[in-house]
Amino acid sequence: MKPADVKEKLRLSELFSFGGATGPLIGLLLLCVFLSFATDSFLSVRNFLNIMDQITVLGIIAVGMTFVILIGGIDLSVGSVLALSMMVLGYLNVHVDLPMALAIPGALLISAITGAIAGILIAYFKVPPFIATLAMMSIARGLANMITNGSQIIGFPAWFNMAAIIRYGGYLTITVGIMLTVFLLAWLFQRYRQGGRMLYAVGGNPEVARLAGIHVKRVTVLVYTVCATLAGLAGILLAARLDAVQPSIGVAYELDAIAAVVIGGTSLSGGTGGIGGTLVGVLIIGVLRNGLNLLSVSPFVQSVIIGLVIVVAVAAETFKRPAR
């Protein structure tokens, strides 16, 4: 191969920030090919649109999680924050009778505050991210439950549910559109904005980043705030999809999101990876769940298969790297 070729290849894969995710991308394609042959119903526009619907919530959470993991952190609270955001939305819109135009910002604000608190604990009080967000997970869940004493809320305006159901132009629901927009913005940010590059520096080595004049603490607080806000946004889209809110929702979503990010090639130690890979990771999880359902695999066996896929996807990366 000529050197010029090498260069071009490198640049293409880099452009999409698939970084370590070319392996997973191949895995995703193989999975799709397999499912197309194994089932009648997988390969259809309708099923593809269903999958897009199904990954909306996970996708948006995973974007925020990518940023958190890029700076070397982790956020276990996203599932609970999502539930809290939903309950606040329901409370404001249905119980207090505020219009959605106020209820939605309200829910996002509460989510952002939980993230900011976690970020402050991590950056300024040196609480390890795992612990700070674990505590926030417990707190946000408790608060979500306290709003209605554990009951659900229904009675949103009709258009709200329609946003998740009507496929404009036959293809795009508003919720899927929002997810795609979030991915696009996050990708542009990560790739072309100073702020995005800073995340890599902070994750790579916070001390080097600090000495390079980056406000590491401020970046940390902002990233957790953004992650929580996105979890809140995901909650609002989920509320639209379910046309109801309940405080017990979103348990263990953080684990799915983390798995998606890591399958997508972002390293848990921070500093490498990116949004492109996360998209692949989210799709792998979404397609796998969908495919296993279409194959009528028993739910217990599904649990085993998903575990195996996570391990294989991540372990496969080891073989690609040159041995030491």
Binding site: S41, N145, T148, L242, A244, S248, I249, N290, N293, P299
Partner: protein, 291 residues
């Protein structure tokens, strides 16, 4: 499949970890298998959003009828709507979505059965004493209705004093154990415990054993889980009564309703298979042959 004219039934359950849903699943599957109908079961693992996704996938697979047990009432309406759009009949079991009823609703009558369980243990205690309730997951329909029923029994007996109540998250035995242990700690003279599910009641009975209070405390449960029935059939221990839901019967009823709805036959909007009060005497027969 010839005689029934139906090929595939989709079954969405909230959580197979709960024996109750597992029993319904077995009821549906066994009966359908006998009729040569394929059943596709999906388990939402307690998550309503997952359930909506799974229902989409069921519809993609071209099911002819949809047996739907909502995972928490919140997901309720959307799957029904999706199925309706696709022209698939919806049979609700155990929980009914508010505002978007299916073609029929099959569920035991919770309030009355809970009343019977509580009345039974109160009678055993001579109509008086301190009582505790271990609730299920707070806010869920069964939790609310079972409490309502039990409360009636308590209110009819002025000698009974409801001294403490706690809620569990997962309806599970280890929670029941822990909660009951603490209740006995705070109220050593407790006479009665109502566990809103058999898991909770079994856990509570263990706590009573540990405290050495088997002769003092009387426990009631709910659901008629296999393990609980086996326990009751031994006729020893503090846990003495449960309301056995006719889960197998529900499964059969659901499949029959699905076939009828598929053919456009009329079916009643509400079908109520009875829960049977189960004690040491009749437990053994239910172990062998679950209703």
């Amino acid at each position: 499949a010839q005689e029934t004219g139906i090929g595939k039934i989709g079954l969405a359950v909230p959580n197979l970890q709960a024996d109750f849903f597992n029993q319904i699943k077995l009821g549906v599957e066994n009966y359908a298998a006998a009729l040569g109908i394929e059943v596709i079961t999906v388990d939402a693992r307690g998550d309503t959003a997952t359930q909506v996704s799974q229902v989409q996938d069921l519809i993609t697979q071209g099911i002819d009828a949809f047996i739907y047990i909502p995972a928490g009432a919140a997901a309720a309406t959307v799957p029904t709507r999706l199925a309706r759009q696709a022209g698939i009949p919806v049979i609700n079991v155990d929980r009914e979505p508010e505002g978007e009823p299916g073609d029929t609703f099959i569920a035991g009558e919770s309030v009355m059965s809970a009343y019977e369980v509580c009345a039974h243990i109160i009678a055993l205690a001579g109509g008086e004493g301190k009582m505790a309730i271990i609730h299920g997951q707070r806010g869920t329909t069964p939790e609310v209705l079972r409490f309502e029923g039990c409360k009636q029994a308590i209110d009819e007996n002025p000698g009974v004093e409801l001294v403490t109540q706690q809620w569990s998250e997962m309806w599970s035995p280890d929670e029941g154990f822990q909660i009951a242990q603490n209740m006995l700690q705070a109220h050593p003279d407790l006479r009665l415990i109502f566990g809103q599910a058999d898991g909770l009641a079994m856990g509570a009975s263990q706590a009573v054993e540990v405290a050495g209070l088997r002769d003092q405390v009387i426990i009631g449960g709910y659901d008629g889980d296999i393990a609980a029935l086996e326990y009751l059939a031994r006729c020893e221990g503090a846990f003495v009564v449960t309301a056995t839901q006719s889960t197998q019967a529900m499964g059969v009823l659901a499949v029959n309703s699905a076939i009828a709805a598929h053919h456009g036959a009329s079916i009643p909007a509400r079908q109520i298979p009875n829960a049977v009060l189960t004690t040491c005497e009749n437990a053994q027969e239910f172990v062998e042959n679950h209703p």
